[in-house]
Symmetry: C2
Subunit: 372 residues, 2 copies
């Protein structure tokens, strides 16, 4: 096995300041557990770390395998390992599951210690900034003093930007991919309809479904809607076109299906097997609230807190986070003489291209990392 | 009141050939009622008619008012009347509700005469071609011998193209707007998730909800999803941006809403007041099955049946039916020396621009009509 080999997910739990970890909403959580993985070795100065931030349904398992029997490795395995872009001979790579997540970090599906029951909808709303502050707690615990880079795509890119704004002296560079400093109205709209798909499922039961069969149909539908937005019109045409699935005699039946439909149904079912519906609600809500400018004089002023080098990566066919958003970030930063550059991934695969086009992504990232 | 003034919706009912009206699926329907409106006068040769075809949730009421108390006129009123683009001093303008619709034409919410109950999901799947063949029956009944033009946007444009392919000698021109000759995979995908939003609502009850409170939440969600796709990212940003609705103290509440969300909820509720959920299912299914090439040697060969002048109109910001689709139609036709031209509506309003940008639309259409 190439790459980082066998790895394991660990957990760091902390109580938070005297009365618990203070969230942006002013609610408090305690304790907070963070699931994380690390690859490579931290150097004695604690300054060779790279933090990778995952997207909506991702997890801390970004590289390697948990067991030799695993069919597939972590979600960005191709990028991480000896000699790979994030070279574990040089870097100490860290990835953690976000606050509000369902892969080991405290979230709505976690047990609320004060009731002994799962939080469900009593879980407080969390923000991208809260996620980042929890990651900071983790990095301090791991003795990381400084990051070479913080990187992520989509919701992961929101975290990368929030990192650079919140802790401007903590990193040498930030690489936000296919994202923006604040979610667009269209982004909010797509998240809203996905949440409604879940909350309108009667089995959601106001989030109190644990142990009782959850809102599978609603979560699957949410995922299907999301999946449409993660690719692009030309990529769907190339992959499925109008190919009809099944018997020709079913063509005029109401339940007859095109291959496109089968694929979305499959993607929906696949997510239901591995993801928690309330978590989907909370993480999309966190994305809606994403605005690095919140609490600062303006959006631009917040971005100008950034001191590190920035590589903002856009994807040519991304209509969920169109490239003008990534270019705008760079324009704002450059106008104030920050070291910011824009790179575009030419790809037909839409928003998801950063999870698909490993070769192109590696090229873009390694060119940038070589300048650090 | 300018324009066509007070108008009324009429109904034409026919039994269909001996055993009922034969559908593409080979199912038969009888009787078939068609709700329609006409404006202007048919000339003695019966050849000054213009047929306007409506989109998904439209109806036959395209111009004028049904009563002086109506708040708003028909859905394309600005285009129709004395001195307007479709000049009723010259043209006899016809618009009918599509087969499968819920505004007076036979559809799933109609009474099935053989059971005395509403069809619901026992209604046969209908296609765009079926809709067009019903319109043809109507025009024959109205003594129309030839159309000056057949025109429509979105699903209406599908009908316009199907008209030109099915009855190539019946019209002088066809004006398909923001559409294509066959629905794309992405189009199928968006329709599928909208149908699921309805069918996963328990109150849908397999389509048997009449008189019992229908799947309002599901239909509203379907409409919300659709509405996102009918505009454009920049138009949403311009209209709503990230403006939060309601009290600042609700910002971090799960139920806190952005203006974008309120707008979509409003659009969803508005449709529920006026549209039938099963009809939404059948008409989106008809769109999925739209392919003018079906039954012909190829898609291109089918298009080359077209003899009339074609103006294919694209909308610059339409991501549901992107402009390459409308350009491709023209390319195919021109390669075979058909009189086809492309016009682009420069607009930020996305797919819906043909229902919004009346002035620009009028310009494009009147330039074309003057060449006839």
């Amino acid at each position: 096995m190439d790459g980082v080999g066998l790895v394991e997910t660990k957990t760091y739990t902390f109580a938070g300041a005297p009365e618990g970890f203070l969230l942006e909403s002013e609610a408090r959580l305690s304790p907070v557990s963070v699931a994380y993985e690390t690859y490579g070795e931290l150097n004695s100065d604690g300054d060779n770390a790279i933090l990778i931030c995952h997207a909506l349904t991702g997890d801390a398992h970004v590289a390697g395998k948990h067991s030799p029997h695993d069919r597939i490795p972590g979600w960005w395995d191709e990028m991480i390992g000896p000699g790979r872009v994030f070279d574990t001979n040089r870097y100490y790579v860290v990835c953690s599951n976000v606050l509000g997540g369902c892969y080991g970090t405290t979230g709505p599906s976690s047990i609320n210690p004060s009731t002994g029951r799962r939080y469900g909808m009593s879980f407080p709303v969390v923000t991208i900034r809260d996620m980042v502050r929890v990651q900071w707690e983790l990095l301090r615990y791991l003795k990381v003093n400084r990051l070479v880079s913080v990187i992520g795509g989509s919701m992961g890119g929101m975290q990368a930007l929030e990192w650079a704004v919140t802790y401007p002296d903590f990193m040498e560079s930030a690489i936000p991919i296919a994202t923006s400093g604040r979610l667009s109205a269209q982004g909010i709209a797509y998240n809203q309809v996905q949440r409604l798909a879940i909350t309108q499922d009667p089995r959601w039961n106001n989030g109190d479904y644990y142990g009782a069969g959850g809102p599978d149909a609603g979560l699957a539908l949410a995922r299907m809607i999301g999946t449409i937005t993660y690719k692009s019109d030309p990529s769907w045409t190339a992959k499925f076109g109008r190919t009809f699935s099944g018997k020709r005699s079913d063509y005029f039946k109401f339940d007859g299906r095109f291959e496109m439909e089968n694929y979305l149904l499959y993607q929906g079912q696949k997510l239901v097997q591995r993801f928690d519906a309330n978590t989907y609600l909370y993480l999309t809500k966190a994305m809606d609230l994403h605005d690095v400018g919140r609490g600062y004089e303006s959006y631009e002023k917040a971005l100008l807190r950034i001191r590190c080098k920035v590589l903002s990566v856009g994807i040519s066919s991304d209509f969920l986070y169109p490239t003008p958003l990534q270019k705008e970030l760079v324009q704002i930063l450059r106008r104030a003489n920050r070291d910011a550059r824009y790179a575009e991934l030419e790809s037909p695969y839409g928003h998801d291209a950063f999870l698909i086009e490993f070769e192109k992504m590696s090229g873009v990232l390694s060119r940038f990392l070589s300048t650090l």
